[in-house]
Amino acid sequence: MLRRLYRCVVRSHPSGFRRRFGEEMLYIFDQQKGTLSALGVILDCVFSLLRQWTLRPHVGIELPAAPLLSPAADQIPSFETLDPFRPRASAIINGTVLSLILFCMSVFAIRYSWIHVLNLRIPSVAVNPSQQVGPQTRLQFDVIPTEPEGIQSKTIASSSPRTTAAPIRTRGVTIWLDPYVGKYISNYPPARISIQIEGDPLRGDHLSLSLAAAERPSLALSPVSPARFVIDGAENSYVDFTTDAQGRICCLSFVVNGNAIIAQRQ
């Protein structure tokens, strides 16, 4: 077993070295007595293997060898390499540098795309309350970086937004919608979220959420509590509002399937 392992290591040496010294190295291994000394010889051979492939510039050069009187004693043919080619050291260095550059560029590209593109999948969204939406319907939202100042965000609303509304009652609690209305900015991922009041002839006044520059309908919100509104027709999607010390809404957390966008009020 150990001899086979040693033979493999010897055969892994460059062809010139192996042809010249391989049989002698096997002979020396055969002279070892005990497993410990055999293991020491194998370890030394591994170091030799590393040296030959990394440090010796003449690895691929065949040295003139004295003729053998007879073939190998064990009559087992040695491995032959098809080509004793070995790349130049400068080519190896160039290849290493090029690989490192490509690796760094790939890492940078992945990091850049991770910051700037975040696909959020909303299971199902009721675009229109009167329209029946099947449970398998999927609507994909792309969170798009905030636009430069001066460019108006596009918001598609089903009705004209307002900033005041009558209070609504849910679970015995009266909720005024006005304090929630405003623009919320997220830095990571960059996004602008608008919360506004919309009036609907069927369901009355309600909050709606829209993402800046997204060519999507706004999302209707229904209150669960003063701090949490769920997105109508979407599972596992809700908006949590946080108040500051004065009791004013200061930020929101837009959660879609466990992915959260934290946005501060502008």
Binding site: F17, R20, F21, E23, E24, M25, L26, Y27, I28, F29, Q31, G40, V41, L43, D44, C45, V46, F47, S48, L49, R51, Q52, R56, H58, L63, A65, A66, P67, L68, L69, S70, A72, A73
Partner: protein
């Protein structure tokens, strides 16, 4: 010639011991390993990988010549190696350098003890 030799000095431990082992007689690889172990009283043991890696270098420098197997030897896999004249010169130069080192070390060690601050 001396300047050319100096560029190769100091020799590595393995190269020095191999040249030293071959200075007495022609030896095969395993014989070199045994001779080195004998000369260093078992302190310095050379593995076959290190031995042949250095032998390859020494043959390329022209300090050691490969003779090949001997007729009538026990094992035909054994190849013998011989120290060349160039190898002997290098060994002589390295020995002189080491002698100087030893002389310097002895004179320093015999001298007065360094002052304690």
């Amino acid at each position: 010639m001396a300047e050319r030799l100096d560029s190769y000095l100091p020799l590595s431990s393995a190269a020095l011991h191999i040249l030293l082992a071959l200075a007495g007689e022609d030896l095969h690889g395993y014989g070199i390993m045994q001779e080195i172990a004998r000369q260093s009283v078992g302190i310095y043991k050379l593995g076959p990988g290190t031995l042949y890696d250095n032998l390859q270098k020494l043959v390329q420098f022209g300090w050691v010549r490969e003779l090949g197997p001997r007729r009538g030897d026990d094992d035909p896999r054994r190849r013998y190696y011989r120290l060349t004249d160039a190898g002997r010169e290098v060994l002589t130069a390295e020995t002189a350098r080491l002698t100087q080192v030893v002389r310097e070390a002895r004179s320093r060690l015999r001298g007065p003890n360094p002052r304690r601050v």
